[in-house]
Each structure stands twice: as structure tokens, then as C-alpha cells.
């Protein structure tokens, strides 16, 4: 890790702010180098099949339940919350279109990623942190394995490839959840529910949402593995690494979401200059 230049311990607010800025800059630079190393290793060769499948199973298959529950409740809550406004405007049948659009473009990818940052990211940081603290990462080196290749590459690939898939599952279950409440509880006509959804949601929306989740997945893996690798001593260090990995993954998700959103909207107006209106 690059070293932070030691500032004089004068403890004014300005010094603290400066120190924080310097530390953050160094951390972001380190993270970028870490990411570059991971990408380089992916290109030079993957770890053994057994290592990969285990990680993919742990991260992908075992996350399906939490992701499903997340999606289901987002869909149902959206239906309940938005119904009154749509009812007031006498446009209940367009409720489905609004719910499904926000699910596919925004809430599905973001909330699924946050959920996975908690379930998968923290666990990875804690696991790698424990391995660092108990010298298992050194032992990997001593036995001729590259710890980044052996530990980070499978986790990165699993998050990068599977989080979009998990997001798709969350989207689908969320859409079903919204429809269930809309048609069964609120009594909205299913035919128009789906018809308006189909008119309003383009393939582009789905692509945008899933593209974002590739970025979210990569960010969660890099941030969490980085925190694990730079874990402080003892149980306390592991705990901190795990908490930090969640906080920083969350921040990374929000920041990426903003910039990707700006980019994708810009791209949309370039590709289709006449926007489709909901109302």
C-alpha cells in the first residue's frame, strides 16, 4: 500500500480535513491499482475449476433467497405506496408501468446490490481479513499461489457475472410482487397493467439496469476484497474490515448509480431524441 505522508500532528479542523482528503486519495489510487492487478490476472489465467465453482455457488446460488425477498417486497411496497396518487389521477392501470420501470431501471439493481454488499461483500471482507490476520494469505504465497489470483479473481468474477443475474431475478420477482398486489389486492385490471408496462418499458431500460449491476458487482467485489487484504490486526481488525467494506460498497454503488444514470440518460437522448411520455 502506498504510504500516507505524515502530516504534522497539529490538530485543527483544516489539518484533519487535509489528512482525510490525502488518505482518501491514496485509498482510491490503491483500489484502482488493485483492480488493475485483478483484471491483469484474469487475462493471464483463471484458478482451478473447483475453486471457481465453490465461490460461484456460495455467492450466486446462496444469494437467491435474500435477493428474491428483496425484489418481492420492493415490488409490493411500490404498488401500495404509488396506488393513491395514480388513483387520484384515475390512472390506476398505468401503475404497473411506473412500478416496473422504476424496478427495472433503478430500484432493482440498486437495492439488490446493497443487499448483496451486505450479504456477500461483508462476508468476503471478513473471510479474507481473517485469512490475513491468521497468516493464511502469507501461506498461500509460500505455497506458490498468488493470493490475488487465488482469492480475489474468483470472487470478482462471481460478483461481476452473477450480481446482474441476481438482479434480474430480483426484478422479475419484484414485477410479480407488484402485479400481485395491484391485481389481487387493489383490483387493477391485469390486461391493462401488462399492456401499459409493455408500451412504456423498452429493452433499453432493462439493458440500462443490468449494465449498472455489472458495475455494482465489480465494485462490491473490489472494495470488499481490498478491505479484507488490508485488514488490521486481530478480531477488531476483521470487524472493521467487514463494516468498512459494506459502507464503502454502499457509497460506491450510489456514486456509480449517479454517474451511470447521467451517462445512460444522455445516451438515451442521443439514440431516441423523442421521449415516450408516461401520461
Amino acid at each position: 500500500m502506498a504510504s500516507v505522508p505524515a502530516l504534522k500532528p497539529t490538530n485543527t479542523l483544516v489539518h484533519q480535513l487535509g489528512q482525510t482528503v490525502v488518505e482518501m486519495t491514496v485509498a482510491v489510487g490503491d483500489l484502482a491499482l488493485f483492480g488493475a492487478q485483478v483484471v491483469r490476472l484474469i487475462l493471464t489465467g483463471l484458478p482451478r475449476r473447483g475453486v471457481m465453482t465453490q465461490t460461484f455457488y456460495e455467492i450466486g446460488v446462496r444469494s437467491i433467497p435474500v435477493v428474491g425477498v428483496t425484489g418481492l417486497f420492493i415490488g409490493m411496497v411500490l404498488a401500495i405506496q404509488a396506488y393513491d396518487q395514480f388513483h387520484f389521477l384515475h390512472m390506476e392501470t398505468k401503475l404497473g408501468a411506473a412500478i416496473n420501470a422504476s424496478l427495472v431501471r433503478e430500484l432493482g439493481p440498486t437495492l439488490a446490490a446493497v443487499m448483496l454488499a451486505g450479504r456477500v461483500g461483508s462476508a468476503m471482507a471478513a473471510e479474507l481479513g481473517t485469512m490475513r490476520v491468521t497468516e493464511q494469505i502469507d501461506a498461500l504465497k509460500a505455497l506458490g499461489a498468488n493470493p490475488i489470483q487465488y482469492l480475489v479473481v474468483p470472487r470478482f468474477l462471481a460478483c461481476f457475472l452473477l450480481i446482474p443475474l441476481l438482479t434480474a431475478i430480483a426484478d422479475a420477482i419484484g414485477i410479480l410482487g407488484g402485479w400481485m398486489i395491484g391485481s389481487q389486492v387493489l383490483g387493477i385490471d391485469s390486461f391493462y397493467w401488462w399492456l401499459h408496462s409493455k408500451e412504456f418499458i423498452a429493452i433499453y431500460d432493462v439493458q440500462c439496469g443490468l449494465t449498472k449491476s455489472f458495475f455494482f458487482g465489480g465494485a462490491i467485489a473490489l472494495v470488499s476484497c481490498y478491505q479484507g487484504f488490508h485488514c488490521g490486526a486481530g478480531a477488531e481488525g476483521v470487524g472493521q474490515a467487514s463494516t468498512r467494506s459494506f459502507v464503502w460498497s454502499f457509497i460506491a454503488i450510489l456514486v456509480l448509480d449517479f454517474f451511470l444514470g447521467v451517462f445512460q440518460s444522455g445516451l438515451y437522448y442521443v439514440l431516441w431524441p423523442d421521449p415516450v411520455s408516461l401520461f
Binding site: T134, Q136, D138, A139, K141, A142, G144, A145, N146, Y150
Partner: protein, 278 residues
């Protein structure tokens, strides 16, 4: 790319060729200097014992030799070539010639004993499963572990058993150079002697070079060709060398330097007062 194998020509590998060399190595953690200006050469085929009191930096020195820690200053050479001038791939290839027994055993806790010992073989050789199984069982037998232990997870083992699994794992790839960090700490006297014998047997398989960090004087007596004693920096003047003794085991036991003789004969004298005052 041409690879220079001249270092490993066995006829040239007689006693005396440097295998690991530390040149003016220092290591600082935060504000604490642990190693200062250490220069040490390990010759091919020798067994070097490193002694010194707890916390004086023996494990740190061993890790620097293995390039698991970077020195803050100074250089490390392997087989006469500075690590600084080597590519990562070059270091990676030569690292497989080393076996390292961790003080804490550092077993992979998600894997069974068998998988721990097999790890280096699986990862670096194209051996078949049956060959690997055979070698692993042989290594486990060497360190006195029953076959029934091989399906256990490290968490289910006693401290001494973990140590022995760590040793089996370090020796699995038949390394040319073995670094043992306290191989017998936490073992009973009989097991200590078994491990001493194992180290000796491993050394006899020429040209194995061994570096043994130990507090066990029976191990020093039994296996060491040469003894190096490190001293904690906190109790040295800024100009005194940190290596306070280099010589044979017999010389260590008859040394007139009080720092050495107290240590090898296990006499505390007024050390407790000194430690408390420090």
C-alpha cells in the same frame, strides 16, 4: 526466455554457495525498529539455527528471507541474485524451492488436513490424484499423524497437531530450502525429538538447506551446523550489531558472552527486573 539453471547444477551445489543472503536489512513497523542492519549468508546444505528471545525479530527475519515481508532497507538475494532485480515470475518460480513452516501453522481453515498438505502439489504440479494422495499420506506419516486425521478440519486439531500438519505441508513439495519457525514449540518431549529427527532426515536428503528458528536447545544441539543469535534492539546501543553471536552449537554453549550463555543455559538472573524496567 532463457532460464539460467546454473545455480541448481548439483555438482556445483557443494557446501558453501550462498542460497539466501541478507545485505544490510532493516525492518521498521510504524515507529518500532525490529531489525537493524542485518547481514547474514545462508550456505547451501547447512542447517542454521536462529535463536534469540521472544520478540527480537526472528519471525520477521524469516519472513523477509522468504519475501513475505519487504525489508525497509537493504537487499535480499536468492541464489546470488538480488530480489529487487528479479521479475515477479522469476521470484514466483524460485519460491517453490522454499518450504516455510509458520509459527502459528497458518493452516487453511476452510480445507481439510489432507487438502492443506496437498495444496502445493495441486497448485504447482500436474500430479494425478493418486500420486498426490500417496505423497500426502507419506508426509503425514513422517510427522506422526494418523491417517484418520486427514479428513479433519484444522479447528478440530490440537495445537501440536496443527504444527505437524504445517510441517507436513511445508515439506510436501520436497523443497531445497526449508525455513522452520519454531517447529517444536508446543510439542511434548517425545514429539519434539521425532520432529528433530525429521529435520535431520530432511537435511540429509542433500542438498537441503535449513533455517530453524527455535527456543529448544535440544534442537540446536541436535541439528544446527551454525547458530545465529539475534538480540532485541531495545537493549542494544545504537552502534552495537544486532547479531550477537555466530558460530557452531558447541561454541554457543561455551560462549563467554553473558548474553549468549544466559540464553542457551536458560538462566534469567536479573532479566525480569530489566524487562519490567524497559
Amino acid at each position: 526466455m532463457s532460464i539460467d539453471f546454473s545455480h541448481f547444477d548439483l555438482s556445483a551445489a557443494a557446501f558453501g554457495e550462498p542460497v539466501i543472503e541478507l545485505r544490510g536489512v532493516s525492518r521498521v513497523f510504524g515507529t518500532q525498529t525490529v531489525l537493524r542492519d542485518i547481514s547474514l549468508t545462508v550456505q547451501r546444505g547447512e542447517t542454521l539455527a536462529v535463536i534469540g528471545e521472544s520478540g527480537c525479530g526472528k519471525s520477521v527475519m524469516l519472513k523477509i528471507m522468504m519475501k513475505m515481508l519487504e525489508p525497509s532497507h537493504g537487499d535480499v538475494d536468492w541464489f546470488g541474485k538480488a530480489l529487487r532485480q528479479r521479475s515477479e515470475r522469476d521470484i514466483h518460480r524460485d519460491r517453490l524451492k522454499f518450504g516455510y513452516l509458520f509459527q502459528s501453522a497458518a493452516l487453511f481453515d476452510s480445507m481439510t488436513v489432507f487438502e492443506n498438505v496437498a495444496f502445493g502439489l495441486r497448485h504447482n504440479t500436474g500430479m494425478s490424484d493418486s500420486q498426490i494422495t500417496q505423497i500426502v499420506h507419506e508426509r503425514l506419516r513422517d510427522v506422526g499423524l494418523p491417517q484418520s486425521a486427514s479428513d479433519k478440519k484444522p479447528a478440530e486439531l490440537s495445537g501440536g497437531m496443527k504444527k505437524r500438519v504445517g510441517l507436513a505441508r511445508a515439506l510436501a513439495l520436497n523443497p531445497e530450502i526449508v525455513l522452520y519457525d519454531e517447529p517444536t514449540t508446543g510439542l511434548d518431549p517425545i514429539m519434539t525429538d521425532i520432529i528433530n529427527e525429521l529435520i535431520l532426515r530432511t537435511c540429509e536428503r542433500q542438498p537441503v538447506t535449513s533455517i530453524v528458528v527455535t527456543h529448544e536447545m535440544s534442537t540446536v544441539r541436535k541439528v544446527a551446523d551454525r547458530v545465529v543469535m539475534l538480540y532485541p534492539l531495545s537493549r542494544l546501543q545504537p552502534d552495537e550489531p544486532q547479531i550477537v553471536f555466530v558460530g557452531t552449537a558447541a561454541e554457543a554453549f561455551s560462549s563467554s558472552d553473558p548474553r549468549v550463555s544466559q540464553f542457551v543455559h536458560g538462566q534469567a538472573r536479573e532479566r525480569l527486573q530489566e524487562l519490567a524496567a524497559a
